[in-house]
């Protein structure tokens, strides 16, 4: 990013392309990345090349799309009866969060082109992400633990695991003939 001033804007500076003035190093990176995957032909067929736009490429987008679909299926898999950790929901939660973070990373890096941006991306994203994490942590004492110490009135009216059990028993008892026994 330090070299961003050294390049001209290929003649159309009015909108957007200022962005790309400093991108040469990253561009080369993007090319190398594509070549490694053997589908740089995606760039060959269109004029986007001349537009100083080297990253992306339809084939790469399609790969990302396939990965996203696959990952969605994977997190959906936790819901199916074939999921082996049925009795330990925590495993499924951790798995789904890992999958979601991977998906988010794919979208941010490829679709939002962050992979090819200059270093300003860290200036914006890292503070926002840290604030977001602090924000969530700060909610824990007031909001998350609000049911630990509650007034008696509230305790009377809030659902307890025992109520769920009662509902289950009622469902098992098989209906309306039961209450006569009480």
């Amino acid at each position: 990013m330090s070299d961003h001033g050294n390049h001209s804007d290929h003649g159309h500076a009015a909108h957007g392309p200022i962005t790309r003035a400093g991108e040469t190093a990253d561009e080369r990176l993007a090319h190398g990345h594509d070549d490694a995957h053997g589908h740089d032909d995606a760039h060959g067929d269109d004029d986007a090349h001349g537009d100083d736009h080297a990253h992306g490429g339809i084939v790469q987008y399609m790969f990302v799309f396939a990965a996203l679909c696959l990952l969605t299926t994977m997190s959906f898999f936790t819901y199916s009866s074939a999921w082996p950790w049925r009795d330990q929901p925590q495993v499924g939660w951790a798995f789904m969060m890992a999958v979601s973070c991977t998906k988010a990373l794919l979208v941010v890096l490829f679709f939002m082109h962050v992979l090819w941006e200059a270093n300003w991306k860290y200036v914006l994203t890292i503070p926002a992400a840290m604030m977001a994490i602090f924000l969530a942590i700060m909610l824990v004492p007031d909001v998350g633990m609000r049911t630990r110490m509650v007034s008696q009135e509230r305790a009377l009216h809030m659902a307890r695991p025992s109520d769920v059990k009662l509902m289950e028993q009622a469902a098992e008892s098989g209906g309306v003939s039961a209450p006569a026994a009480h």
Partner: protein, 331 residues
Amino acid sequence: MTASSISIPHGHDHHGHDHHGNGDHGHGDHGHITLQYQPGLPLSRGKLIMWLFLSTEIMFFAALLGSYVVLRFGAPVWPKPHHVHLSEPIGAFNTFVLICSSVTIVLALEAARANKSSLAKRWMLLTLLLGTLFLGIKAYEYQAKFAHGIYPAVPHGRVYEKPDLYYGSAVRARLGEPAIIDRLKEIDEAPAGSLKPEQEAARGRLQQIRKIVASPDQQAFDLAVVADQVMPLPSDHAGGSGGHGGGHGLNDVFPELKLPVVIPGGNMWASTYFLLTGFHAIHVIVGLIVFSILLLYKLGRQDAGKIENAGLYWHFVDLVWIFLFPLLYLF
């Protein structure tokens, strides 16, 4: 510095006194000054603003998602997705729709950059349609919640936390409303064959719960039976949606009665669900408005910056849903 002072190398500190202070990139060999604008950040103004906006949006949704997570894991009881009539396949399909729309907007951007404006228009239109489809499915899901008495607020909501006396009296109050009394009389006196078969079968159960809520010595267990008859909580998700009692509750057989239901933890669930998906839906609507406006442009190379900014926003909306889907539907 002027062209005459060619002996002074670039980048030294004298040019600050010069009246052409900015021109340190002037190319001396042409004999005139070329001023070059150097932006503080190597990105266009619109994109910078969009990214700043998105970083505030990160915090906005982090607050919402964070409160959802701490509420959900701090609650003594949280309803299972089937208790609140969430359908995982529909949620997964909606995720797929949003991912597809993310791809189409990226393809619109590519087409615009290649100056293929009609292609860009078509991708943009497809994005708009996919976004609308997402909203349509969301509306269908909301409708399913409303049909079961799950609303974000009290005037319409019929969700009770537990089968206690308050629930019993709510059922009794509902059964005592004039319109419902008339309807119950109709049901009771209907000759055999005039009702639907499942209504015929449920008639006896309906009479039983009326007896229970009217009795002065109702027990918690009796009221749990009432709640189970009105709207059974599906037992553990057995692959398909609702193995037990799906469609057999009295509220399903006689939807016009609209009896109060018991969903332990259901009210807090409804608050968070509607808040999260509602704010997300508002973002989707804003995105759709932006796409509609963009469709008025030619969408050639000169509009690529606009599409890029709209795309950044849309990908963010997609990103939020990527986290919302597992948190709401699968946790």
